[in-house]
Symmetry: C3
Subunit: 401 residues, 3 copies
């Protein structure tokens, strides 16, 4: 912003803000939008940037929200790939480390898929890519193939809608593997060529204390084989020990160049949002799913979601996208976590019934209430009875707008 000639009012320490007085993100945003032409928010809760964006008249940039996403970092990452490799299409990108909590990864994978890269996952044990990210990747970025070895215990392949994603004919842009890594990266035998390593830092502050995860390390020894001669190593920084200092002076270590590209990329983003340069699409992409929102019933199950924070839950209704799956699935619009309600109720008759795939999708989302289970429905004053969904049978495109 300074390089663009603008000024910045920043509040790096949350404890100096009104948030410590119990102020909600929604309120903060409606005050500071008058002081600034653009807002950049970094927040500890998943989905905080979406809340800010919903309430702000000024554009909001998500500079990292909890362990959810970090899209502006992804712009830097993609631009770095483009500068280092001339093209992202058909690059094979192996993502190693903490894929569970690392928010940069949760944005990067979609970006890579959009540009036609192949993705390989090398998570530390217990730090695998969250299932909802895997699912979204396979459902909404269908230009690729996802391979999940059955040996990898946590990857409940049976839960995946692989009939839709696996068999997309448009090309093999994505190859998602979840190799059996227990602190050791044994991906070396599986691949002839890896173009780019994207190491992520172990998110110490977001993992349970005392967790004993052995963490994969990338250093010169790891990159010793001839096939890694032209491999680039990226890292969102800061690093601790997962990235060898011996790569600092190695031309393959691209992470400080990557940090440098952060300046022009963020200048472009700011200039685009402020209307100085025409670098962004005029319109955001159209909504893919119908949105369900009721003040009672099921809530997002992610503890770190902004809708579950002490301050925001005072005023913020949950909102979910109704995914077009055989099993009724709701995706939180704030944090992207998924919940599967077991019970549906009718707001007028106060009757509830168990959801079954035979019921199909509800026609009118205003009249129904989804519940996690029978107890939640009863606690809300509903009684067992007939609930008409008022809809045709579910089809594979149901749920789409």
């Amino acid at each position: 912003m300074h390089r663009l000639g603008g000024s910045v009012v920043s509040s790096p320490d949350a404890s100096s803000t009104s948030a410590t007085k119990g102020e909600t993100v929604a309120d903060t945003v409606r005050v500071v939008e008058h002081y600034a032409d653009i807002l950049v928010l970094r927040h500890s809760s998943d989905g905080a940037a979406r809340v800010a964006s919903n309430f702000s008249k000024a554009p909001v940039i998500n500079a990292g929200d909890g362990s959810h996403e970090h899209p502006s970092q992804t712009l830097c990452d993609l631009y770095t790939l483009y500068r280092e490799k001339k093209s992202i299409n058909n690059l094979t990108v192996y993502i190693s480390g903490d894929l569970k909590n690392g928010r940069t990864v949760h944005s990067l994978v979609y970006g890579l898929a959009l540009f036609g890269a192949h993705i390989l996952f090398g998570p530390a044990q217990g730090l695998e890519l969250p299932q909802h990210v895997q699912l979204r990747l396979s459902e909404e970025f269908p230009g690729g193939q996802v391979g999940i070895p059955a040996t990898h215990g946590h990857a409940q392949a049976a839960d995946l809608p692989i009939d839709v994603v696996y068999q997309t004919p448009s090309g093999a842009h994505q190859l998602a593997l979840l190799p059996g890594v227990s602190g050791q990266i044994d991906i070396r035998q599986q691949l002839d060529q890896i173009d780019v390593f994207y190491m992520t830092r172990f998110q110490r502050e977001r993992s349970p204390a005392g967790s004993q995860t052995t963490y994969p390390v990338v250093d010169r020894a790891f990159l010793n084989k001839p096939k890694f001669k032209g491999t680039s190593v990226l890292h969102p920084l800061p690093r601790v020990d997962e990235l060898g200092y011996d790569l600092d002076s190695d031309p393959r270590g691209a992470y400080f160049r990557q940090a440098a590209y952060g300046v022009p990329v963020r200048m472009a983003l700011l200039a685009g949002l402020l209307g100085i340069e025409k670098v962004l699409d005029a319109e955001p992409p159209a909504a893919k799913y119908r949105v369900y929102s009721q003040s009672l019933g099921i809530r997002c199950g992610n503890d770190r979601c902004i809708t579950n924070s002490d301050s925001e839950r005072r005023h913020l209704k949950c909102q979910f996208e109704l995914l077009g799956r055989r099993q009724m699935t709701l995706r939180c619009v704030y944090c992207d976590h998924e919940v599967v309600p077991a019970v549906v109720g009718n707001k007028k008759t106060k009757a509830y019934d168990f959801l079954s795939t035979a019921l199909g999708q509800p026609k009118n989302l205003e009249s129904v209430v989804f519940f996690k289970d029978e107890n939640e429905a009863r606690a809300a004053g509903f009684e067992r009875g007939h609930v008409a969904m008022g809809a045709t049978q579910r089809s594979s495109t149901a749920g789409r707008v």
Copy 2:
């Protein structure tokens, strides 16, 4: 300041400043005045801004000092009233909530009185307007009427100099009521029309821990009656729960517009102080009272006063305005709290005597020392004896410059 084209050096976190190394406000100001053309100070001690102003060559803006005052917020509040209601004169403003610790109220009441508004107080139980603010309002802003119901225990009406303020003939600009609110606002029956609600946040961080005050809430239900159809609701923000979120989308909720007006109002204030725009009077108002200051004797009784802070008391002498009341009363020039000395001494003879109304006001404030009580006088080496005040009998204007 940014919108005016200037730059800002800010220090939002006091723990990053030299204050943590024991530096006084007076010293900090004498360093930073060389780095800036204007100083804006927010501080946890009552009266800190006055100390800064006394020592700084650059203009100082008080951005809130302890629970004392917050005058720049009052400028925003008054401007909001003007924009919402076209005029402040004859508006009836009901101030509800924490009137004891809420520094915005302690500045607002004087501003409202100056512009001819009627003020109604609806404090939460135990959070009534401080007595010294009530007294100043009635003594120095005499264009109104103050009604104190005898049923309200804490309002010791007998202590008030109501002969001066109550009976001013110039007009009914102020109507200060202190209704019996115990967590419930029953002001509704007392008034036909309230033009503006000014809700204040419960100052959690400034109230004794574990205090169980029930706090009045303003929301749509509260404003349900037809007479509140055109009522505006203001709030200095941040809010917690005392202001219903259902007012956010209600046109009567003016608090986010109020926050927005903060930008042009503060631009005007800065421009005026920097001499860019002629928006301020060239001269501050003349002093109303004689000032008393001795390095020994009575001190300000307000624990949160800057003169009682660990750092400032090393170098800062207490200073008091000598109020023209029947009973000798000293008002701290820093925090506005009042003290009533029981004993007066003569600096030369080291004699002290009890103050009595018969003594009148001292002619020469340099030669006398006031003490809280006999013990304080004795501890300072004074002995009981005759003290000549050297003045005529007290009159109602005594103490005025």
Copy 3:
């Protein structure tokens, strides 16, 4: 920087930076150098600025590193002396207070010596100037005389290479005395005239808790004698109680003027480093000593040295200047502390031997490893044997480049 028309990105609170995520100074610098044209670093570890400078492409200003140095403050101090006294040459500057931890002093003494001032030391008991600073002052700034009273226990005069420094004929520019001050400044009897007092604040946060040092105080009473009529009192600020508030209104109190000079002096420094104004030498002074650096063997003995910090020791090799003394002495290039190895080894033969003055200086610093003692050598896999230093006998200029 603002006055020069530039912008500033600041990070006043270390807990808001990536340092709390375990990032090294070297990494931080290699990220932020892309965001700024110049870096200003204040850090809690001795030598942090040197690390930053080694890794940054942008110029680095040391704004205080641990208790090591504070050179930009020295520029302000020297400029203040120049403005107050018209010349620094032949000024007698008495430095009083905490000379051990006060980093401003560790830079000031060299500056004073360069400009030909006489320096007198009045440390509080136990807070004497570190020995390595005394030694450097006498060895590298030879244009003066250093007088160390033998009565002062800690000043181990026998350790000093006084044959070189004491007897330099070029002039009496420095007169370093270490009077026997036990919380009392008895320097008054020793001198006819003191031109400038440079008081330093007791570095409470850097001294052992519970230390009972009585601290010298400078106030009007202290400056009561006629010979102090024209004495200037300087202080780097913030002060606590070691400097009387009664000097604030005394023309001899120059410390707020000194603070004010900080603005133009730092403007000049920034302008010079950015190439806007030609105020700096194009080239830094040539290296005086050979540099020794091995990844095994002796380490810097200063606990607060950046090479001993948890984060930096992961990647940072110790580096030492080989001082030209009779006894082999290594000076840490980061924090300037000195270590004296007892043992030397040969990297190839893995033999070690005790150092003796007869061995002389090693010819090839690549082939030798210095160890603190025999245990350290053995722990590193070395065995007692013959080590050829491959050098001529030590001369007084050995070690010089």
